[in-house]
Symmetry: C2
Subunit: 220 residues, 2 copies
C-alpha cells in the first residue's frame, strides 16, 4: 500500500467514507420504514434519523425511489445469493423446497416492509421499476422454484406442477402473514409475529405444499 | 300505494334517486380504479367519469375513504352472503373448500383493485379501517374456513390444520396472481389474466391445498 500516491489514498478514504454514509442512510431508512410504514417516510425524516444532511440522500441516491431500490438491494442481496446457491446444492428436492419456503418467510419476518416497498415503487413508477424489480428479485425466485420442481419431477418425488401457478401460490402465501398484519391483529388478536408463529407458519406451508405436490398425492 | 301522501311519494322518489346517484358514482369509481389503480383516482376524476358534480361525492360518501368503503361493500357484499350460506350447505367439506377457493379467486379476477383498495384504506387510516375491514370482510372468511376445516377433521377427511395459518396461506395465495401483476408481465410475459389462467390457478390451488391437508397425507 506504501506505493500508493496520496491522491489514490485520498480517493480510497473518500470511497470508504461514501460506503459508510450510504450505509448510514439506508439503515436509517430501513428502521423508519419498519417503524411506521413505507409511505410515511420522507427524505427529511431519513436525514433526521441518520443525523446526516438530507442533501446527502439526493447526492447518493438521486431521489427517494433511488434510495428505496438501494435498500431493497441491501436487504435482499444476501438472500438472492443464497437462493442462487440453493439450485446447485446436492440435496433432495423436498429439502430444497423447505429451505426456500423457510428463507422467504424469514426475509419477510426480518424486513416486514419489503413487500410494501416493492409495491410503492411499482405503483409510483410502474414503467421504470416493473421490469427492474421483476428481473432482479422475482425472476431468480421463479427460476429456482422451476429448477426444484423439475428436479422433484425427474426424481419421481413431485407430480407435474406449473411453475407459474406455483410461483404465485408460494410467494403470496409466504408474504400474507406479514402483509396482512391488520387481519392478524383484528381477526386473530395477535399484535406481533414472534419466532414461534413464524416457525409454525413455515411448518404449515411446507407440509401442506409438499404433500400437495407429492407424486403420491391424488391428481386433480 | 294510492293511500300514500304526496310527501312520502316525494321522499320515496328522492330515495330512489339517491340510490341511483350513489350507484352511478360507485360504478365510475370502480371503473377508474380497475383502469388506473386505486391511488391515481381523485374525487374530481370520479365526478368527470360519472358525469356528476364532485360535491355529490362529498354529499353521499363524506370523503374518498367513505366512497372506497362503500365500493368495497358493493362489490364484496354478494360474495360475503354466498360465503355465509356456504357454511350451512349440505356438501362434503372438500367440495366447500373448492367453492371457497374458487369464489375468492373469481372475486379478485372480477375486481382486481380490491386488495389495493383495502390496503390503501388500511395504510391511510389504520385505526379507523383496520378493525372495520377485518370485522366486515376478513373475520367472516376466517370463520367459514375454520368451519370447513372442523367439518373435514370431524369427517376424517382433513388432518388437523391451524385455521390462522390456513387463513393467511389461502388468502395470500388466491390474491397474489392479481396483486403481483407486474411479476406476471415481467417474469412470465403475460399481460392480462384470462379465463383459462384464472381456472388453471383455481385448479392448482385447490388440488395442492386439498392433497396437502388431506388426512391421508404425511404428517409434518
Amino acid at each position: 500500500m506504501r506505493a500508493r500516491s496520496k491522491n489514490s489514498q485520498r480517493e480510497s478514504q473518500q470511497g470508504t467514507q461514501d460506503v459508510a454514509t450510504r450505509e448510514q442512510l439506508l439503515i436509517a431508512a430501513g428502521e423508519l420504514m419498519a417503524e411506521r410504514g413505507v409511505s410515511d417516510v420522507s427524505l427529511s425524516d431519513i436525514a433526521i434519523k441518520s443525523g446526516l444532511n438530507s442533501a446527502l440522500v439526493k447526492y447518493y441516491f438521486g431521489n427517494k425511489a433511488g434510495l428505496m431500490i438501494a435498500l431493497l438491494r441491501k436487504v435482499l442481496g444476501p438472500a438472492m445469493l443464497q437462493l442462487h446457491h440453493l439450485s446447485g446444492m446436492k440435496l433432495p428436492p423436498e429439502e430444497k423446497l423447505r429451505i426456500h419456503i423457510s428463507g422467504m418467510v424469514m426475509i419477510y419476518f426480518q424486513y416486514p416492509y419489503i413487500n410494501r416497498l416493492m409495491h410503492q415503487l411499482l405503483s409510483d413508477e410502474p414503467d421504470t421499476f416493473g421490469s427492474l424489480i421483476a428481473q432482479e428479485f422475482s425472476a431468480p425466485v421463479a427460476a429456482v422454484q422451476k429448477h426444484i420442481l423439475d428436479e422433484g419431477f425427474a426424481a419421481g418425488t413431485f407430480r407435474k406442477i406449473d411453475p407459474l401457478l406455483f410461483y404465485f401460490h408460494i410467494v403470496g402465501a409466504c408474504d400474507q402473514l406479514f402483509f396482512g398484519r391488520y387481519q392478524l391483529e383484528h381477526v386473530f388478536g395477535i399484535k406481533a409475529i414472534n419466532n414461534q408463529l413464524k416457525s409454525q407458519f413455515i411448518d404449515h406451508l411446507y407440509s401442506v405444499v409438499l404433500d400437495g405436490i407429492s407424486a403420491t398425492s391424488k391428481e386433480p
